[in-house]
Amino acid sequence: MYIKQTFSALALLVCVGLPARSDAQVPASKSKQDSIARADSIARADSIALVKQLEKELGPPNADTSAGAAATQGPVATGSYMNIGFVALTDAGWSTAHDIGAIERGDHDPKVNGFTIPNAEISLDGNVDPYFKGFSNIVLKIDSAGESGIELEEAYGLTTSLPWNLQLKFGQFFAEFGRQNPQHPHSWAFIDAPLVLTRMFGPDGLRSQGVRLSWLLPTPFYTEALVAVMNATGGTTSSFRSPESSDIHGGVIDDRPVSNGFADLLIVPRINTSFDLTETQTVVLGVSGAFGPNNSGPAAKTQIYGADLYWKWKAANAQAGFPFLSLQTEAMWRRYDAAQRLEQDELLVTLPSEVLKDRGAYAQVLWGIKPRIVAGLRGEFEHGDPGSFATDLRADQTRWSPNLTWYPTEFSRIGVQYNYDNRKTIGSDHSLWLQLQFLIGAHAAHKF
């Protein structure tokens, strides 16, 4: 009885599976092997006839064993001058927070109850010539009010042939500070940005226009030293001369042109090293800094320091990269030297010169349980020492986020994430977010 039921179920599954299978074929090809794939739909009708047909089509085994038999006549032109890819993130969910934007501060985070498309990016890249590669990322997004926006997220050139293991990047790019800041949202393991990143770098991460020099050190293990010199002005340099930085220092911004030469620029150094602990385990360690002027006063400065660690174990016989276990953690400290300034909301009040200190960290564990299924847990906190004024952006907050992600293929992903947020001044909130992601076109390879 049980067997009969099983076969009935299998038969049903076969029927359900049939349409999908008919799509499975490689596009019409004259190759003999193609005929094998093509023929299995025929096999359902008459498997014996199929076998005969296959044998007829396959013919005798290939008798020519010379190298020439496997070689073609000459090289074949392939590829194109430019790779084009498009990735879209569709988020849906609900939160108990009345001010979702205060807990989901990233520009590509889900910000409303209901649906959002916080990130749809067009990526273009290719070799410029023998000396440079070019890369551009153009982001379209729909904000919490339903308005569409567009931004040139990145556009940079990269040298390919500098001597002494040097490499120069120039244009607009994400600062290589820590691990997650330079990553694009579609490669984040969680649906939203870590709290500490949005506190230090604002909703869009730390990115600006400038140059970055990198040196691959001649050590026996991987060590890379990088330094970027960038503009410190603009909406994507939040802790520096950003027009929104009143949220950090509480005062009227010192709006002046870039006049102090090199001192008005943002310097972002980083050193990054990695070891293979065993055949299956690798660790990457990095320390970063970001130093530049802020706009609380004419000579005010900000210093941000960061340390990051990434460890990964992947089975020696992993299937499609699974199973694996990874730990990623970043800690950041900010010292914001706020000058004496007029309070933004009370212009008759003068805020004293003070040092605003903030810190925060997150740690996330990912477990690739079985092919294409990943369970994750992230814990994070952020803290600001008391200043002469109160601001939500410096309030203490903790968050726990378990999540589960299914990757049907490398080109699509479905994730669900629960957030437990606890804000010291406001209380607890619960959020549940769902994200569907798809990629069409060229798929950039994943960095470690």
């Binding site: 090809s29 498997s47 076998v51 010379s66 490398e410 950039a444």
Partner: protein, 308 residues
């Protein structure tokens, strides 16, 4: 006087050390993406090359982590051998971008695309990912066709001769020796599999098509419904039906493929699941291309013989 002697001896020792180190570094530093390519490179390069493989023998060559240590390895390489046909597309480009080594840049003599000039199978006429993860340049699992290995060896020898012209004659001699050995072994492998010509098998992925064509086996289906797509119950039910109708008794799996899924299908069909690693080193005592092919052919022949 004594001091002068010591200085002279020290200078002599340093010269000797320098000479030894020059001799040691005179070897071409070769990086191969996979162990099978590394093995062929050793056959061609002999003691004039030092070859390392990036992917582990048991690892899916499509899904290798782009570990930073590989950047260092590539940075110091004189030559890189890649399979090509997009086999390494998911992990090699960022490594190369950061390796800053013009010796292995595209088009340089040190960049060896193993599949160059090879007649690949299953080149799609259109690109559509609804058909699975199809490689636009053709199926990249060609190395288990010994005739394809000859093309690879020819490509490697040609590049080695350009990189190290002084030893070109050695490389060409090693190539000739490799070709002869392949011919001899191929005759043996074909003899072993000759009784099973036309035998029907099932594989996990479309990674045995070159082998099947060379040795006259017939692949009835794969456990994956489409290339790179995980097996679904509906598809497995279909495969079970096909296997029963065609009396398929052998399922081939590689170390990184889901053996449990294959065993489930085998239980339903009375078939045997055979470990069929394509990479040297994945099975015991298979450190070279020839050892691994011996093991592969012997295992498949034994399974097909037992299935009769």
């Amino acid at each position: 006087m004594k001091t002068t002697k010591i200085i002279k001896m020290a200078a002599l020792s340093l010269s000797a050390i320098s000479f030894i180190s020059v001799q040691a570094t005179a070897q071409l530093k070769v990086v191969a993406t996979t162990p099978d390519l590394a093995s062929v490179a050793r056959e061609i390069g002999g003691d004039r090359v030092n070859v390392v493989a990036l992917a582990k023998p048991t690892e899916d060559p499509h899904f290798v982590d782009a570990k930073p240590s590989f950047i260092v390895t590539l940075n110091r390489a004189d030559a890189l051998i890649e399979g090509g046909a997009e086999l390494e597309l998911g992990w090699l480009p960022p490594l190369l971008e950061n390796s800053r080594n013009s010796k292995v840049a595209a088009g340089a003599p040190g960049r060896i695309v193993a599949s160059e000039g090879m007649r690949l199978l299953e080149i799609p006429t259109s690109f559509d990912r609804s058909k699975g993860d199809i490689h636009s340049l053709g199926n990249p699992h060609f190395m288990i066709d010994p005739a394809a290995a000859k093309v690879v060896a020819r490509n490697i020898a040609s590049h080695f001769a350009q990189l190290d012209p002084k030893n070109a004659a050695n490389y060409n001699a090693n190539l000739a020796r490799f070709d002869s050995r392949i011919d001899a072994k191929l005759a043996d492998w074909q003899k072993q599999l000759a009784p099973y010509r036309g035998a029907k098998i099932v594989t996990y992925h479309r990674d045995f098509i070159y082998f099947a064509q060379r040795f006259g086996l017939s692949i009835v289906d794969e456990l994956e419904p489409k290339p790179g797509i995980s097996p679904s119950p509906a598809h497995l039910a279909q495969v079970i039906g096909e296997m029963k109708r065609n009396s398929v008794k052998v399922i081939l799996v590689q170390p990184f493929q889901n053996r449990k899924t294959a065993e489930t299908v085998a239980r339903q069909t009375g078939a045997t699941v055979i470990d069929a690693p394509q990479q040297p080193g994945a099975a015991n005592n298979t450190s070279s291309y020839f050892d691994n092919m011996d093991n592969l052919v012997r295992g498949i022949a034994a399974a097909l013989g037992g299935a009769r």
